[in-house]
Symmetry: C2
Subunit: 148 residues, 2 copies
DNA sequence: GGTTTTTAGGAATCGTATCACATATTGCGG
DNA sequence: CCGCAATATGTGATACGATTCCTAAAAACC
C-alpha cells in the first residue's frame, strides 16, 4: 500500500471499504489497477497501467486491465479523461455523472474540479435543445501556474 | 460540390474563400476531406472519412486523411469530438478556442453550442487554480428531444 | 459436493493515430 | 526559365487504444 501516493492513500482505503460494505470483490487485478492509478499524480493510459502491472500480475493482457478500469469507473472511483485517453483517480466521494478537469498541457498535471451541476449557460442551452443529459465531459486545457 | 449537404454548402465555400484570401492551398485531399465531413450530418471517424475517399482519392492511407483533418482543424473549420473520436464541421465562423457539443447517444446527432466564453463557474475555478486556458472541451451526452 | 455466478487468462482482432522516409508540387529569387 | 526552398503527398510500418470471444478458475450459494 505504500506504493500509493500519500495523498491518495485515503482514496484507496475508502474504495476498499466501499467494496467491503457493498459486497464487491476486490480482486488482485482490481487492487493493482487502482493502486497504479492512484499511485500516479498524472493520468495513466491503459497501456501505461499494463506496463506497471507486468511484475505484480505477471504480464497481464489488455482485457484484464480494461475490466478492472471498467469496474472502478462504474463505481465512480476513477475517471476517464477523454481528451487524453487516460485514467485518473477521483478525488472526492464517487458517483457524480459529470467530471471536470483542469489540464496542464505542459507538465501533464491534472486537477479535478467539482461543479455540482452543469453550468447555468449550458443548462439553458441543453434545455432549449431538449436534451436529457446523462453525463458530460468538461476538460479545460492550458498552462498551469507553475508552468507559465 | 453538390455532395456537400445543402445547409453546409455555405461552410464549404467560405472555407475555400478563407484559404484563397490567406494564401492557403486547397489541395485535393483537403478538399475531399472537408467535403466528406461537411457532407455528413453526423460526426465522422477518421476511418469513415478514409472509406469515403477511397474512390475520389484512390484509396488514401491514414496520414493523408489525418493531415487534412489537422489542416482544417487548425484553421477552425472542423472540430474533433473527443468523446466520440470523430470530426464534425464547425457551424459558425471559425476560430474559437473552445467548442461545445450536445450529443444524443441514441441517434448520434450532434448539435454545436456556442458559449462565447467559459462558463462563470469554471472561469472562477480555473482562475483559482491559476490555469491559463488554451482550449476547452465540453461535451454533453444524453438523449435528444426526438429520441426520448 | 454440485451448481451458478463472478472473475480472470489469453489469442485475435479491430479502431485510432503517428512516424519515417521517399517523392512530388508549389512559390519565388535570380 | 532554372534551381532552390518550402509545402504537401504517398506509402509502409508501427504504435497506441479497446474489444470480442472463448476457456478456465475461483467464489458464493444451496
Amino acid at each position: 500500500m505504500n506504493d500509493v501516493h500519500h495523498d491518495r492513500l485515503h482514496d484507496f482505503e475508502s474504495a476498499i471499504f466501499y467494496c467491503e460494505k457493498n459486497g464487491l470483490n476486490v480482486t488482485k487485478p482490481r487492487e493493482e489497477v487502482l493502486k497504479a492509478i492512484l499511485g500516479s499524480k498524472k493520468p495513466l493510459g491503459a497501456y501505461d497501467i499494463l506496463e506497471k502491472l507486468a511484475e505484480p500480475l505477471n504480464k497481464p493482457k489488455p482485457p484484464t486491465v480494461y475490466r478492472a478500469i471498467d469496474f472502478w469507473q462504474s463505481h465512480g472511483f476513477i475517471h476517464r479523461i477523454e481528451s487524453l485517453n487516460a485514467y485518473i483517480g477521483c478525488d472526492t466521494d464517487h458517483h457524480h455523472e459529470g467530471s471536470q478537469f483542469i489540464i496542464c498541457d505542459k507538465c501533464g498535471n491534472v486537477e479535478e474540479v467539482h461543479l455540482c451541476s452543469v453550468p447555468a449557460e449550458l443548462q439553458k442551452k441543453s434545455e432549449e435543445s431538449g436534451l436529457k443529459i446523462s453525463h458530460w465531459v468538461l476538460e479545460l486545457h492550458g498552462t498551469c501556474k507553475t508552468c507559465q
